[in-house]
């Protein structure tokens, strides 16, 4: 609890959850492009794909840095335990992001003969970063054993079926975000090819979500109790219902050849999954044992950074909206931001 009855830990929990969600949604669709790259061999269409996110991708990635730094400032215990426990997948994620970020830029500057090398770096980096993120999420849900404020598990705890499945699952989710994003942003051959990919991807994601929804309560009785407790049944039932609606919305707008709605419904699916995850572990920040308040830095620390965050975050949000607005509309072959 904080100053004058304000729950600073709760506020920071919401800010960080919001930052991570912004990251998952926004970097999700541009990582998705890298995942879809192998399916689109034509270099000009690849140019178009990259140009659809060229103005925004590095801003998207900055949310990840902000999430890490804010976690460090507001919940140092969570920062130290989670990052130590998930060392290798996080390092792999960072390596993937570095490769991908640099490939993004240098691909456009490379000669045609060398372009395929940067294409490979882009594909490999995107796949590696996404898979590693999925593993991180899976291992996080699976729980991080902590004894005496220190990570008490093994180096390779994350190398288990459930986290690895989550890694594959996130690749599917990001690919779907990417393909529906391209429905919004492209036209002609590329758009119709994406329409072709989107339907199987959607069914695949449904299967992934289904497996995770069955697997999670089997693995974690405490999450099962929470899901099926009477008080929460309405909440989780409601989330499931909304997710089903979003899925049918996605399929039907896809069939009716809408350009924007499939992307919106995919965002809704990801958002609902994220909310479901948050409610499943609430009020823990390091499942299964450390709560938001137990991991918090002292109120003076949280208040100190809150002042800066409340001043700067709204400006960043406004700028983000503005820059998506400026670069709205379809991207065509030959268009370039270069």
């Amino acid at each position: 609890m904080g100053i004058q009855g304000i729950d600073l830990s709760l506020i920071w929990g919401v800010i960080i959850a919001f930052g991570v969600m912004m990251y998952v949604i926004m970097d999700g669709f541009d990582l998705g492009l890298g995942i879809l790259f192998p399916l689109i061999p034509d270099e000009r269409e690849r140019d178009v794909m990259m140009n659809t996110v060229a103005p925004v991708w590095d801003g998207n990635e900055t949310w990840l840095v902000l999430g890490g730094a804010a976690l460090y400032g507001a919940f140092p215990l969570a920062y130290s335990v989670i990052l130590e426990a998930l060392y290798l997948p996080l390092i792999l994620m960072l390596c993937g992001l570095i490769f991908r970020g640099v490939a993004f830029e240098f691909r456009f500057k490379a000669s045609p003969q060398k372009r395929h090398i940067w294409d490979l770096a882009f594909i490999g980096g995107s796949l590696l970063a996404t898979f590693a993120q999925g593993v991180v999420i899976g291992a996080y849900i699976a729980g991080i054993p902590v004894v005496d404020r220190q990570f008490a598990g093994g180096t390779l705890d994350w190398l288990a079926p459930f986290p690895l499945f989550c890694g594959v699952g996130l690749i599917v989710a990001y690919a779907l975000l990417g393909s529906t994003w391209l429905l919004v942003k492209t036209e002609g051959m590329l758009e119709s090819r994406m329409r072709l990919f989107t339907r199987p991807l959607a069914w695949l994601l449904l299967a992934v979500i289904g497996v995770i929804c069955i697997w999670t309560p089997i693995l974690h009785p405490d999450i099962a109790t929470r899901w099926f407790a009477h008080a929460h049944l309405v909440l989780f039932g409601g989330l499931a219902l909304l997710a089903a609606l979003a899925f049918f919305g996605l399929l039907s707008t896809l069939r009716r050849r809408h350009t924007h709605w499939p992307f919106v419904f995919t965002l809704a699916l990801v958002f609902l999954g994220y909310i479901g995850l948050a409610f499943s572990i609430w009020p823990n920040i390091v499942p299964p044992s450390i709560s938001l308040w137990a991991a918090a830095s002292p109120p003076t620390s949280q208040l100190f950074i809150l002042i800066g965050a409340l001043f700067i975050l709204p400006i960043i949000l406004m700028y983000t909206v503005w820059s998506y607005y400026v670069f709205r509309g379809k991207v065509r072959i030959g268009d370039g931001y270069h």
């Binding site: 060229a54 570095i98 100190f304």
Partner: protein, 473 residues
């Protein structure tokens, strides 16, 4: 469970990634201020040379900024992945300071960088200049926060230890800790000097190849004025920083000096060169100058400085390393001052742009600022060992409990990736440098064929091809 080898690997990994990273922010800090000066001078004098230089260096700035962002991503996570005991112990202080650094950098990138890099033809001159100045100020605010954090770890104050962890008590005392003003000034000036020699070296390269234009001459002239004025100031600031260190971290000074014991009551000599031997507890092959140690460090002829043997063996920093890293830094600093003075002399005799020997010297001095800066950081960081938070937490107690295998794999990954990725990046920057400043045509630049230019990607500020050879006109 835990052994020294994994600790060593963790330290090497941090040193490697942070050394690679700091090169880019240092050039960013220096170039941002340089660009603000160039644009200000152009607006004031309407001399197009300044405008052409602005466009030339802003492209290099953009690539450099992109490299800094990518390498900085790793840093934000490394405190937790590799140093989780430290993050838990000191996170309530170092965490918020890092959060402020990221918020500032994020704000700067989101707001003004886009206008600065891509808004030349889209916003008015006054607004564009404002954006450039804000970017320059923003880089200095970022420096402020990150050095507040590092200085607090060197000279901690404004806290209490409760339940074995640091609790912040007074944020003003935390930020403005005893070594902070000196370290901040020393680092900011180091960034300016390093950039000046980068710019000067580029100009010398062009002049040596006969690319003698008014823009190239202006570059060399401005860089050497910087060297003449700022390099000596850096020496004075460095001296003050050293006295501050003597007060708060005497063991570091004793190790830098390779000074083992005070035998009698006489003054301390200065060991000019030698090889400190940590096992034998003496400095081999020492070349000493009497009185000078006392004179430099106490500004007197009779006072003594602390000796290494007066500290317990396990509390001594590695003198072999920092004795030499300090001398590399100080020696390069003297060469920089020399370059500034020679430049002044040649300016008066009129040979500044023609003297090939001098131009070669300036060209080879290009990396000197960056090398000196890294040597300085090695001195202060190795010199505060065995502590990570001075006097409070030992480095050995700060690391995450990772296995040797895990640390080896990740270190190898970082080395391979950093060298492959950043070599290409730095190579691209060098290519832009080789292209040289061009006259800037209003309305045509950056916006060719009616294309839209992104406002947010630093690296795309120039369309120069990565592979083909640069042309020098």
């Amino acid at each position: 469970m835990f052994n020294l080898e994994a600790l060593d690997l963790a330290r090497i990994q941090f040193a490697f990634t942070v050394s690679f990273h700091i090169i880019f922010p240092a050039i960013t800090i220096g170039l941002a201020s340089f660009l603000a000066v160039l644009e200000g001078l152009w607006l004031k004098t309407h001399n197009d040379t300044y405008r052409d230089l602005y466009h030339f260096w802003s492209k290099i700035f953009a690539v450099n900024f992109g490299m800094g962002v990518v390498s900085g991503l790793v840093m934000a996570y490394e405190f937790g992945t590799n140093w989780s005991r430290f993050s838990d112990f000191a996170g309530s202080i170092t965490g918020p300071l890092l959060t402020y650094e990221v918020l500032t950098a994020f704000f700067l990138e989101a707001g003004f960088l886009g206008v600065m890099l891509f808004g030349w033809n889209r916003v008015g001159r006054g607004l564009h200049f404002f954006a450039t100045v804000m970017v320059a100020i923003g880089t200095l605010i970022s420096t402020f926060w990150i050095l507040a954090s590092n200085s607090w770890m060197q000279t901690p104050q404004g806290f209490q230890i409760i339940d074995g962890r640091v609790m912040p008590m007074d944020w003003l005392a935390i930020v403005f800790n005893p070594s902070f003003p000196y370290r901040l000034a020393h680092m900011a000036i180091a960034a300016f000097v390093a950039t000046a020699f980068f710019v000067g070296s580029s100009a010398a390269w062009h002049l040596l190849r006969g690319n003698d234009t008014r823009q190239v001459r202006k570059m060399l002239s401005m860089a050497l004025w910087m060297a003449l004025i700022v390099a000596p100031i850096q020496a004075v600031v460095g001296d003050a920083h050293g006295l501050n260190t003597l007060e708060h971290q005497p063991a570091k000074i004793a190790a830098i000096e390779g000074h083992w014991e005070n035998a009698d009551n006489g003054p301390t000599p200065l060991v000019l060169f030698g090889l400190p031997d940590m096992q034998a507890e003496k400095t081999r092959y020492a070349l000493e100058i009497p009185y000078l140690g006392s004179l430099i460090l106490t500004h007197s002829l009779d006072k003594q400085i602390p000796a290494l043997k007066s500290f317990a063996k396990e509390d001594r920093p590695n003198a072999t390393i920092i004795f030499w890293s300090f001398r590399v830094m100080a020696g390069l600093g003297m060469l920089m001052i020399l370059a500034g003075l020679l430049g002044l002399a040649l300016r008066r005799s009129g040979g500044l742009y023609r003297h090939r020997g001098f131009l070669r010297f300036v060209m080879w001095m290009g990396p000197s600022g960056l090398v000196a800066m890294l040597a300085g950081w090695i001195t202060t960081e190795v010199g505060r060992q065995p502590w990570v938070v001075y006097g409070l937490l030992r480095t050995a107690d700060a690391a995450s409990h990772h296995s040797v295998a895990q640390m080896s794999v990740s270190l190898a990954l970082f080395v391979v990736i950093y060298f492959s990725v950043f070599t290409v990046g730095i190579g691209y920057m060098m290519k832009l440098v080789r292209k040289g400043p061009q006259p800037h045509h209003e309305h045509a630049a950056g916006n060719t064929f009616g294309q839209v230019v992104t406002p947010r990607r630093p690296l795309s500020a120039d369309a120069e091809n990565l592979d083909t050879d640069a042309r020098v006109n």
